[in-house]
Amino acid sequence: MSINRRNFFKVLGVAGATLATDSLLKTNAEPSSNNKEFSGMLYDSTRCLGCQACERACAKANKLPEPFDKPRVGHIRETNDKRRTIINKYNTSKGEFNIKKQCMHCDEPACVAACLTQAMIKTKEGPVIWRADKCMGCRFCMVSCPFDSPKFEFLSSNPKIVKCTMCYDRLLEGKFPACANACPGDAILYGTRKDLIKEGRKRILENPTQYTDYIYGEHEAGGTSFLYLSAVPINELGFKTTLQKKSYPELTKGFLYSVPSIFVLWPSVLLGIYEATKNNRSKSENYE
């Protein structure tokens, strides 16, 4: 029964959405095809030295405190409101490897679809950024993000949402993101997403024994601007491989599309029932 009802609404929703409500419902996170020229970064775990140059450059660029601890096996570090990127070290089936973690800058970000004030936006250049003057601090972006990227300043009376912005202001000045600029081992490559995927494929093809044949981020959560190459399956490096390949805003689309149709249908149905049962009322009043 529930399935029928849902599909019923979906069909009506599509019909309703094509009407006047279309513009109202247009999502911020409109499906964007993969060949759109978003900027991104390709991170190669096999080249990463774990030197934390990226962490220090990030802290300097964003005026955050210097990293105080070093990556080591068994000690899982997390990004938080004081650090936007971190390096972790894992012992894997092929030996020790480092891995960088930060916001993935999804093509269709859940946080952007979740934001009710357009504080979180996907810029046309690719980075997902947060705007202080819009945000009301509801933290729905944090609930929705499958990578847990947005962090919140819980100990501030005027808290900010903190996450990697891919150094958006530096990009606008024509500079590279601070971490890509600082990396001494060429582990972080900045470029357009399309080129980076090509480069990733090339590296896998040329060194099939060095890499697992997978670019993490190419399809995860509908595609992300941050792409990962690694020697071992990336779940050995603390990443979730169970994420859906569809984009996350897709999950609420069915519900949102049913809204205009309910707004048209419900009142007319209710008014109809009201008119039909009017007689009952006069009857019961007569009895009193």
């Binding site: 029964m1 529930s2 849902r6 109202l24 419902l25 247009k26 999502t27 911020n28 996170a29 997390e78 409101d81 859940a110 979740a114 934001c115 004030t117 357009q118 504080a119 003057d133 819009k134 945000c135 009301m136 601090g137 509801c138 933290r139 729905f140 944090m142 609930v143 929705s144 499958p146 847990d148 919140f152 300043e153 819980f154 100990l155 501030s156 009376s157 005027n158 808290p159 979730k240 169970t242 994420l243 859906q244 805003p249 999950l251 609420t252 519900f255 949102l256 309910i262 707004f263 419900w266 009142p267 209710l270 008014l271 029932i273 009201y274 049962t277 009017k278 009952n280 019961s284 009043e285």
Partner: protein
């Protein structure tokens, strides 16, 4: 404005309006009741905590973490509180749309309850906002995040509060003795009811849809793409169970206000509501079973969370449903009330399981609310009861409307 004030003053036999308000603000009745003795210290403490929270940030008062950003204030105050406020839209549907006139005597108190619940529980949402001054952004200006479920929910809260205020406004007009306003406002009731039911359908389910994108974070036994439908269906019997529970209490506390006829009627009303609850719970239980089978989660049942799921589904959905059915057949008022309380516990469990207990169930450090979060929650509830009591003692909510209002129809 001046014009309305004149009308009111005239109807009140020339008493100045501000004098009337001042006299009404004074407390009526005894001060040192057990409820006051408990609630006043809690409210004072809660207000201190709220000031601390705005001064030093959410982290000083709550146990929220970077991976569990929503806690008790959202999971209980907002998500659960709004489910319990669902009685208002169900009852207005029955009385104004289906014209089931028997239930008319409890419509006003239920709508008042619903209205206050929305004001206070949506108000609790403000306590949880990090940057509350920007709350105007989604309401005015060009910052509409229309692809957000929360945008929809926020707007519906706001509009539904207006609709409920209109539904309740004839009682305010009767209190003020505003005859002309009463006539106009009464005429708006049916439109407000239709609008209100539509809004309720969408935001009751919308509260569930909030969690749709948290797909990997919620325990699979509670996460499904049907959360919105589950939330909507369960809001029907959650709201009605609240009406039964709250009606039983207010009927005792404010019994001096209720006419002989309505006293007599009350058991019949509760009896009827029990029948509706049985039906709605049966539909809900069947849906839950369908979703469970559809999800192929049999292996999860034999885990800790699986037992917890069974406790909720059998102990607090199936059992109260059967209890409602049995007590309805036997016409046993006591058992109906027991079933109502069990159902309400089941709703609290369900909403908390989705929003707090099952959220990040796999993380090493679990979120447990601080005592301060609980005190603030109690503060919100107690202040709501204070306002509720204030209104009941002044406006014709439980008692009969004045004679002129009846002729006015």
């Amino acid at each position: 404005m001046n014009n309305t004030a004149n009308i009111i003053a005239k109807d009140n036999e020339g008493t100045a309006i501000w004098k009337f308000f001042l006299s009404e603000l004074k407390p009526k009745g005894k001060w040192l009741t057990p409820f006051n003795i408990i609630s006043i210290p809690v409210i004072i403490l809660g207000i201190v905590l709220i000031i601390m929270r705005f001064y030093n940030g959410l982290g000083t008062v709550t146990n929220l973490t970077q991976s569990v950003p929503w806690g008790l204030w959202i999971g209980f105050d907002v998500v659960t509180g709004v489910a319990f406020a669902g009685g208002a839209y169900v009852l207005t549907f029955m009385v104004y749309i289906l014209n089931m006139h028997n239930y008319h005597s409890i419509v006003r108190v239920t709508v008042l309850n619903g209205f206050l619940a929305y004001v206070f529980y949506a108000g609790a949402l403000l306590l949880d906002l990090g940057r509350p001054l920007n709350v105007i952004n989604p309401i005015i200006g060009n910052n509409f995040g229309v692809s957000s479920v929360l945008f929809l929910v926020a707007w519906h809260f706001l509009l539904y509060m207006v609709a409920q205020l209109i539904e309740f406004s004839p009682a305010i007009a009767e209190w003020l003795g505003a005859k002309r306003a009463h006539k106009i406002l009464s005429g708006m009731t049916i439109a407000a009811v239709i609008f209100g039911i539509t809004l309720s359908t969408l935001h009751q389910s919308g509260l569930g849809a909030l969690y749709l994108m948290a797909k990997e974070k919620i325990h699979p036994l509670w996460y499904s793409e049907f959360i919105p439908i589950m939330f909507f269906v369960s809001s029907v019997f959650a709201g009605l169970s609240m009406v039964i529970f709250e009606g039983s209490i207010t009927h005792k506390v404010f019994s001096d206000q209720i006419s002989e006829k309505n006293h007599h009627n009350h058991n019949k009303i509760i009896h009827g509501l029990a029948k509706i609850c049985t039906g709605a719970m049966f539909a809900y239980f069947a849906l839950q079973i369908l979703v469970f089978i559809h999800g192929k989660h049999w292996s999860l049942l034999n885990t800790g969370m699986g037992y917890w799921y069974l406790v909720e589904m059998i102990g607090f959905v199936l059992v109260p449903m059967l209890l409602y059915f049995y007590s309805y057949r036997k016409n046993n008022m006591l058992l109906i009330r027991v079933a109502a309380i069990m159902t309400m516990i089941g709703i609290i469990l369900n909403r908390l399981n989705v929003s707090v207990i099952g959220f990040r169930w796999d993380s090493a450090i679990r979120y447990v609310p601080t005592w301060m979060e609980i005190v603030v929650t109690l503060t919100v509830i107690f202040i709501e009861i204070w306002v509720f009591r204030w209104v009941i003692n002044r406006m014709p909510v439980m008692r009969e409307s004045p004679a002129w209002a009846k002729e006015n129809k």
